[in-house]
């Protein structure tokens, strides 16, 4: 047992170091002063990034984790510092992103007595964490930190919170830095792969003539992209991904159908309606994908493979399921299947690809799609693309094709506006050599734009693309389509001059207004690497995203192109948001 003279804060930093933590994103405050002090007094390699708002820290850690597959640490103070990270924790939880959040807390004997800056963050965050701890003794630190990282990164990943009272971080540490984990209730790995079940699934797959493989985020988390590709090629079966699964299968591959769902490709959605077998690997059948669950894939054999047993049958009851890690499952399945006779099916799908391509007009006012498409072409499709939430997010997903894992980072489940700017910063910290492009709307951008200071300070060469239509465009689109164009609470009048704003932070800015300037300005932005740059794109104000499956409707109700003016009024959607 290694006995040392140190305080809880120092023990904490040593334990984080032992976990291989590269970055801590955080914000100081009274109850975490001992930990901030320990960062100075404990030599090591961890780098601390001071953000401008705690929400920024959480999304940075999130972006870092999504871009690298490794967890980062968030460190904030008690009370408001802690409550400010809740959105970030919830965002990570919804999308299964590993994260360890350290919050300061009042001294132990004041907890529950309304001490200054006291909040019951352990209680408040309970529904949005994978697990959480409230420390009772400095000596619990090593075991807790080890458990937190183990829980955050294994099985279905997620955020873990450790609430640290100030007397714990300041108190003497007399424990064992190498304390063992003690989590008998945690079984993150699916038991040894049920090979009999895989064989049954292989038999079902072998009978299919119109299969579709649906690859979710689980494929990326498991690192199964290569085996998935091999499987698809062996079967000669088409693959569609979820929004978060972008990159699980190369979107430029001839077997790719792009991504599916509410604003996914028409051909992926049509394929879901017509397939005779759906092999879902690592997707949780989100309501944005299935539309009306009563009608989802009615004619098809549905197979659901997930590492989380609670996902099986939650939305859709599959005929076959397997609780497994995506990679292990695919490797085993591949042994028992061969080429399917999918010739006719692929021909049909190719026909739909020809008939219903993703498209936009380059004439007229500047289109978001045009800017995104140009970034795609001029960056060779190799950039790490980070989005905010809204119309631009859907278009970024449509027009920036993703071939590699962890290259498309977006708040899918939570749909957190304000995610884009800080997540891009976290991604650039994690992938310093890669080009990072943040596509943001003018709404979401303003929710976390203060983190431009962080990007400027570290000279991160991120391209912040503000696709500025002066509207909360997605809601405006719903109001136009389903609420007889009564726009309510969506006009962002009073937007600042974003280029001047960038200038105030010492960030290079570009204004882009005319379609004719797109190529020149995108090229200049991509070539500028002295630090961040911001491209304010004054785009068409009232453009709409298509295809669109109205929320809660069956997929067959997909609207592929913009309805003609004066056409029949659309019913209000019944699904969630």
């Amino acid at each position: 047992m290694e006995k040392t003279v140190m305080d809880g804060g120092q023990a904490l930093i040593k334990c984080l170091e032992a976990e291989g933590v590269e970055y801590i994103f955080g914000y100081s405050g009274g109850s975490v002063i001992p930990i901030f002090d320990a960062m100075i007094t404990t030599p090591g390699n961890i780098k601390f990034v001071l953000v401008r708002h705690e929400q920024g820290a959480a999304h940075m850690a999130d972006g870092y984790a999504r871009a690298t597959g490794r967890p980062a640490v968030v460190l904030v103070t008690s009370g408001p510092g802690a409550t400010n990270v809740i959105t970030g924790i919830m965002t990570a939880h919804m999308d299964s992103v590993p994260m360890v959040v350290l919050t300061g807390q009042s001294v132990s004997w004041m907890i529950g007595k309304d001490a200054f800056q006291e909040a019951d963050i352990f209680g408040i965050t309970m529904p949005v964490v994978k697990h959480s701890y409230l420390l009772k003794s400095p000596n619990e630190i090593p075991r807790t930190v080890r458990e937190a990282f183990h829980i955050a990164t294994t099985g279905r990943p997620g955020p873990v919170l450790i609430d640290i009272p100030k007397d714990i971080s300041a108190g003497p540490f007399t424990g064992d830095l190498h304390a063992e984990m003690d989590i008998p209730g945690y079984r993150p790995y699916a038991e040894p792969l049920d090979t009999a079940k895989v064989k049954e699934i292989a038999e079902a797959v072998s009978k299919s003539q119109r299969p579709v493989i649906l690859a979710g985020h689980g494929v990326l988390i498991s690192g199964a992209q290569d085996v998935l590709r091999a499987l698809a090629e062996k079967l000669n079966a088409p693959v569609t991904t979820t929004l978060l699964g972008k990159g699980a299968f190369p979107e430029t591959h001839k077997l790719s159908l792009g991504w599916l769902g509410m604003h996914g490709t028409a051909y992926a959605n049509k394929a879901i309606c017509e397939c005779d077998l759906l092999l879902n690997i690592g997707s949780r059948f989100d309501d944005r994908i299935i539309g009306d669950p009563k009608f989802f894939c009615k004619e098809a054999v549905i197979i659901h493979v997930d590492i989380d047993p609670a996902e099986i049958g939650k939305m859709i009851r599959p005929q076959y399921h397997c609780i497994a890690d995506a990679k292990l499952f695919i490797e085993e399945l591949s042994k028992h299947v061969g080429k399917l006779s999918t010739g006719e099916w692929l021909k049909t799908l190719d026909g739909w690809k020809q008939k219903y391509p993703l498209k936009f007009k380059r004439q007229g006012n500047l289109k978001m799609q045009h800017v995104i498409d140009e970034f795609y072409k001029l960056s060779g499709g190799k950039a790490v693309v980070v989005t905010d939430v809204g119309q631009h997010q859907m278009w970024a997903a449509q027009f920036y094709k993703t071939d590699k894992p962890n290259n498309f980072l977006s708040s899918g489940g939570a749909g957190t506006m304000g995610f884009g700017v800080p997540a891009a910063i976290g991604a650039q910290f994690g992938r310093p050599k890669d080009t990072v492009i943040a596509f943001c709307g003018d709404g979401g951008f303003q929710m976390t734009e203060f983190e431009l200071a962080t990007a400027a300070l570290y000279k991160l060469p991120i391209k912040f693309v503000v696709l500025n239509n002066h509207y909360l465009g997605m809601v405006r689109q719903w109001q136009e389509l389903f609420y007889e164009d009564r726009t309510s609470g969506v006009d962002l009048e009073g937007n600042p001059d974003f280029v001047k704003l960038a200038d105030a932070y010492g960030i290079k800015g570009f204004n882009l207004r005319r379609p004719g300037d797109v190529k020149r300005i995108v090229k200049a932005a991509l070539a500028y690497n002295a630090g961040p740059c911001l491209i304010n794109c004054e785009v068409e104000k009232t453009d709409n995203v298509f295809p669109m499956i109205p929320a809660g409707k069956r997929i067959e109700a997909m609207i592929i192109d913009a309805p003609k003016a004066g056409s029949k009024k659309l019913e209000k959607p019944t699904g969630s948001t």
Partner: protein, 166 residues
């Protein structure tokens, strides 16, 4: 009494840590399930506790909640014993208002149900009943002819029989 939705009896084996009850309760309440009864006690190994939870709601959704509860880090296992042949017991204390002239009849009923009289005054008595929850239901129904002043029930506890694990 006929319930539209059956009460399910779940046994949850958990590590004895702060917050575990809140996490479990939250999992049920978020999906709109009502906890009808709840007993928490230390297990034979003091590091663990056993919870016996009576919950009403439809069986389909419950399967999913059981999986979500099982997934909680502090939960070792969560099993539904509703349709098992487990040993299920409950205790009830019933304080009734009885004077000297009714006491005989009350004691007769108590004896029939194997109750103990654990408190007796000129105006009242407390009966202690242990057994099958349905038996306690029946007792309460019978004893209602007297005025029930107060009533408390522990909620079900259960153990699986023989070689079965709870």
């Amino acid at each position: 009494m006929i319930n539209a939705k059956p009460i399910h009896t779940l046994s949850v084996y958990v590590t004895n840590k702060p917050g575990v009850l809140a996490r479990i309760a939250q999992t049920f309440s978020r999906r709109g399930y009502n906890i009808e009864s709840l007993v928490v006690s230390p297990a034979s190994d003091g590091n663990f506790s056993r919870m016996t939870i009576g919950v009403s709601g439809d069986a389909d959704g419950l399967d999913q909640i059981i999986r979500q509860v099982s997934k909680l880090i502090d939960v070792l296992r969560c099993t539904d014993h509703t349709y098992d042949d487990a040993v299920v017991k409950e205790m009830g204390l019933i304080k009734i208002s009885v004077g000297a002239e009714e006491r005989g009849e009350a004691l007769q009923i108590a004896e029939h149900f194997g109750c103990k009289t654990v408190d007796l005054t000129d105006e009242s008595m407390i009966l202690q009943a242990v057994g099958d929850p349905a038996k306690i239901d029946a007792l309460v129904e019978m004893i209602e002819k007297f005025k029930i002043i107060e009533l408390v029930r522990t909620g079900k506890v259960l153990l699986a029989r023989g070689a079965e694990t709870t």
